[in-house]
């Protein structure tokens, strides 16, 4: 059942027909979506899509031009709510936002105090975060000496220092090397799994979105194009011409086949396209959209038999479904609205 339809869905963040203009530039246009408590929600879109602007409005850094945002029921439009909302949010900005002249410990203490953490609890909180993020042995070292990955860890620790109920993560793995990105992703995953936080993740990294998010909003040019889990969006797109109509099947052969692609396309029933890899040992079939999953299974069996009849020896058959990258390219690059 879609998450939003569930009876236990309690919205932590509600964007209601949100719009934002900078002079004549329209950065966000009529964005409406809800993020549930305890949910990991992704804003997926290219640079300039409006993700950071959305994050800044939620954290009361920018005022909306139209519509409203409710954070745990409090409107960002009411300036009296600014302090309460900011205390409920932990913000990881696109760049680490770490005071490099200060030590890791000093960074965390400053933000703990700024967010009103009781003085007697600050040392324990700082120590536990430094331990959690593997920075305990670097606590007295100035952040300028830290690697990008360590700075990002410290920035996440800083965002968590006041135990916020909502975590806004703006491009958390951008500009990190693969190893650091993996560590940060694991750290975010652990934080999300704890269930104490609602996480809104802005990213253009498909891997981050796929691995971390319960639901994703595909966003471009300030508009939401599709919302749902990866499978929900994929389901909604059935019947659309995505290049994945009816599904894809990859068949691997022991030896290369000399039969041409044109000939194979004629022989294999239901195939819209047939392509051979350069080594001629991998054949990719794309079936027409009218076929159901069951029919594709049958057609795949027939295709295998047909190939065997041409003398091919088969080692593997894999049915592929559209990946998040395919959905992204179809929705975002094609500016396609999926309802």
């Amino acid at each position: 059942m879609p998450l939003q339809s569930r009876s236990d869905f309690v919205p932590a963040i509600e964007l209601k027909n949100l719009g934002k203009s900078f002079s004549s530039f329209r950065a966000i246009e009529g964005v409406t979506l809800n993020v549930g408590r305890g949910e990991v929600f992704g804003l997926l879109g290219p640079n300039g899509a409006g993700k950071t602007t959305t994050m800044r409005i939620i954290s009361c850094l920018l005022a909306p031009s139209d519509g409203d945002v409710l954070v745990n029921g409090k409107s960002v439009r009411d300036s009296k709510n600014r302090v309460d909302i900011s205390k409920e949010i932990g913000l990881l900005t696109e760049s680490p936002n770490i005071y490099e002249r200060l030590t890791a410990e000093q960074n965390l203490i400053f933000f703990a105090r700024a967010y009103g953490v009781p003085e007697q609890g600050i040392q324990d909180r700082v120590t536990s975060l430094l331990e959690e993020f593997d920075l305990e042995d670097r606590r007295s070292e100035r952040a300028v000496a830290f690697s990008k990955g360590m700075k990002q860890k410290l920035a996440i620790a800083r965002a968590l220092v006041h135990r916020p109920s909502i975590l806004l993560l703006d491009e958390p793995t951008a500009s990190l090397d693969a190893e650091s990105a993996k560590t940060i992703r694991a750290q975010i995953s652990d934080t999300a799994k704890s269930g104490d936080h609602t996480v809104l993740l802005s990213t253009h990294n498909l891997d981050d979105a796929s691995r971390l998010c319960d639901r994703i909003a595909f966003i471009n040019h300030g508009r939401v194009l599709a919302i749902g889990s990866e499978s929900e969006v994929s389901e909604k797109m059935k019947g659309e011409r995505t290049g994945w109509e009816g599904g894809r099947v990859t068949i691997t052969l022991i030896d290369s086949t000399e039969v041409s692609e044109e000939r194979l396309a004629k022989l294999i029933v239901g195939a819209k396209s047939v392509s051979k890899n350069v080594d001629r040992r991998t054949i990719e079939l794309c079936f027409e959209e009218k076929y159901s999953d069951e029919e594709i299974d049958n057609l795949t069996s027939k295709a295998v038999n047909t190939l065997v009849s041409t003398g091919a020896r088969i080692t593997g058959v894999v049915q592929s479904k559209p990946t998040l990258e395919d959905l992204y390219l179809h929705i975002v690059a094609g500016e396609k609205k999926v309802s």
Binding site: F22, R56, C60, L61, L62, A63, V83, L91, S95
Partner: protein, 266 residues
Amino acid sequence: MLVFQKDWLEIKQSKQLLVPIFVLPILMVVALPVIAVQIPVLLLSGNGSGNTPLSSTLTLPFELSSLTLGMTAKQAFVYSMSAVFFAPFTMLVPLIVSSIISSDSFAGEKERKTVEALLASPLSDMELLLGKTLVSFVPAMLVTIISFAIYAGVTDYLDYPMFGYAILPNFLWILILFGIAPAFAIAATGMTVIVSTRVSGTREAQQVSGLLVIPIIALLFGQTTGVVLLGVNTLLIVLAAMIILDYTILRIGVRLFNRERILSKL
């Protein structure tokens, strides 16, 4: 006080800030006047004219002549230069120091990309502005007082044999140190903080706040040409004007402080 404490910790860790904050004022307030006044005096000593009564050698403006009443020509030269003429240099110190530090505040945080997390915190506009202003004002005053203390010490050490008493500090310098200098520091800090929130880098912030140096240079120029003399009366007028300017700048600062605008310049 939280922002003040944080920025103070940062300043203490930055050699790029500490070196100009201490070296430049000491060079300007201590080295320049000592070299310009004491070396000529040492070179001229023993030529006889030093003990000539002032009234027969120099015509000084009324305010200065009342300060140098009964002094010899050499004493009057040393006193006029050390205790009066170089006084405007002391006013430059709070300007230099506060503009260096305060341009590092919002503009520096923008450059280092730390400002967004700071603005997203629950700290109020007043806490941010006050913290950023105080962290420039306090070191500016400290450096001003330290520079003057060194200057007064050197001057009195060198000139005590000539006068038989310490010529510094006098009332003029006390008025400058505890009246004019703080007023200039507040104006420079306030202006730089305001400008810092509206530009994207420390250089632009420093350039704009550097405009405050113009009236002081004008004072120095006026003294050199004899148009203006920094006597007590002139200083009281300058002080009154600066208090009005400070009040105006601080009001404008509070009114113009806008988190969205600061972020839009990132």
